[in-house]
Symmetry: C2
Subunit: 327 residues, 2 copies
């Protein structure tokens, strides 16, 4: 009985304020939300679920859990070339979760709502005897016919990535004490890249007129490139030396070259991986200036149905750790 009362209180106190900028949310008091899609736009819809102990740690800060949850979905919206608009949130929490926890969690959501321009419009709050389980369905807009899919890569397309690759996988290692010989500053940088991914929500929509395929890097650079290859029925050649690394990642790889496997196959970077014809090279320069984002060409799409990785000497490189089918 207390639980049900708790549910209404939680919604009213912590979540309803997040829905106020969209009247179609009915302030979270109705059976469903009612939203309009601007003329000429399609709606992009994506769902991601995070489970305590699987996708985040029990003692992670609630505001960081909230941000990770939203950003994973924002990254999916960006990969389709869409602009964030709305989200529904499902929370299954243990009975007795404190109001402090909910306050901090909602605070994390609010900060990201402001930063990324997205608004809560509905959801469900239930009790569970198991781990905290969060599911978020994000909705965005893209001009009709302009959504970027994984399956559109063309033979001869340049392969591009945004930002820096591999920091998140190294950050997870750093967070769990598995990186030796690293400065406190670099450790802190890498961990923050893991706990607070920065989805490319401004870049994604700018790509929709210019690129042939895109995906966000959640399974790892090579694994996600493989998704593009599989759905586009093509292969890829990539150059290790072209992969953009942070200063921290560079230091680690120089000391221990095996870390390159983690950079190639580790996940959770939430950067964009996309393919485009050569005319994009000029566009990339202006996008880099306009958005202050790194865009780096790392390879080319080929007609053979596999991915080949080349080292600094032009030799084929084989990932030792499970190969690129890292799952």
């Amino acid at each position: 009985m207390t639980r049900k009362l708790g549910e209404f209180e939680i919604i009213k106190t912590y979540f309803a304020p997040l829905s106020q900028s969209e009247k179609g949310s009915f302030n979270l008091t109705d059976d469903a939300a009612v939203i309009d899609i601007p003329d000429g736009m399609s709606m992009v819809v994506t769902t991601d679920t995070l489970v305590e102990g699987v996708h985040f740690l029990s003692d992670d800060l609630p505001e960081n859990i909230a941000k990770k949850l939203l950003r994973v979905s924002l990254s999916d919206l960006a990969a389709m070339g869409s602009v964030p608009a709305f989200y529904n949130l499902s929370i299954a929490t243990k009975i007795g979760t404190t109001s402090d926890w909910f306050r901090a969690f909602a605070g994390g959501l609010l900060a990201d709502q402001i930063q990324f321009g997205i608004t809560l419009i509905g959801g469900d709050t239930v009790a569970t005897s198991g781990p905290l389980t969060l599911s978020l369905t994000a909705m965005g807009f893209v001009a009709k016919g302009k959504a970027i899919s994984r399956g559109g890569a063309k033979l001869g397309d340049d392969i591009w990535v945004s930002g820096l690759i591999g920091d998140a996988a190294l950050g997870l290692r750093a967070a769990t004490g598995k990186l030796s010989s690293i400065s406190e500053e670099n450790k802190k940088y890498l961990i923050s890249r893991y706990t607070k991914p920065a989805p490319q929500t401004l870049l994604g929509p700018k790509l929709s007129n210019h690129v042939n395929s895109a995906i966000d890097i959640s399974d790892g650079l090579v694994g996600d490139l493989d998704h593009i290859c599989e759905t586009s029925k093509l292969g890829a050649d990539i150059q290790i030396t072209d992969i953009p690394l942070s200063r921290a990642a560079n230091i680690l790889v120089t000391e221990k070259p095996d870390y390159i496997d983690l950079i190639l196959s580790g996940g959770d970077d939430f950067e964009l991986l996309f393919t485009a014809d050569k005319s994009f090279r000029a566009v990339a320069k202006s996008l880099t200036e306009m958005l202050d984002v790194n865009l780096t060409k790392i390879g080319v799409m080929v007609c053979r149905r596999s991915i080949e990785i080349f080292d600094e000497n032009g030799n084929k490189y084989v990932i030792k750790n499970n190969g690129y089918t890292h799952f």
Copy 2:
């Protein structure tokens, strides 16, 4: 590592076939789905989450769990006056959930997709150490400006319900062995009303031009009427003798009058409760004929801010079991 492979296999084998009728689902191979909304329509979005041990029993049939999950959300779409279109599905399952389970679960979804005209377009499949946790976000269409909200009830509106009230609450009691003296036939009927609610997906959209407010009965007749009263800033008078009961419910109430409290405050009927002005009485007759659905007037909206319940002698009736604030 097996888990991740499992995830892709589960999606490809059991869920991708459910998405084939909507090309914007990309056969569940992309970051997100891309859908179009028909001209002149708004989109209605609702999320419901069901947890094993809280909202269904561990040994419930997978196909029944699937149907309950979909129908709870279909009922919300109906309450807004919208026609079902798409859904995203999040599943957090224990590692080792069998392919038989997934096959049966997907079979339940497919049967309901055909019956109710809704298509899977995306979602997420993850592992959990806890109870099976299912979250579904359903999307429907309603003509712009025609969505029915809880907050639109007018003073003097008739209060209506669809179908028969209280069967689900009695069915839950029957399923857990808490109903004595009931025939096997009636027991079976009541349990099926609890496990397989029949959302009013045809009725809901037909109401959107004619009624002032609506809600689906999930928290219980009086509890949900209270939601309408609260958001509409009105009160209600209802007549116990006007509440439509099944033959099974009638037998039970005749034998043990206290069961009326369960009928008034028990949840999960997933019928529609709505208010409309007197001109709706004629419409109700034709809807009843057209859709073969019971529509029953059970009361009237009043300006006092509370709900009063009257018995067959015109006396005020007070629910013994916690009052109507049953949560």
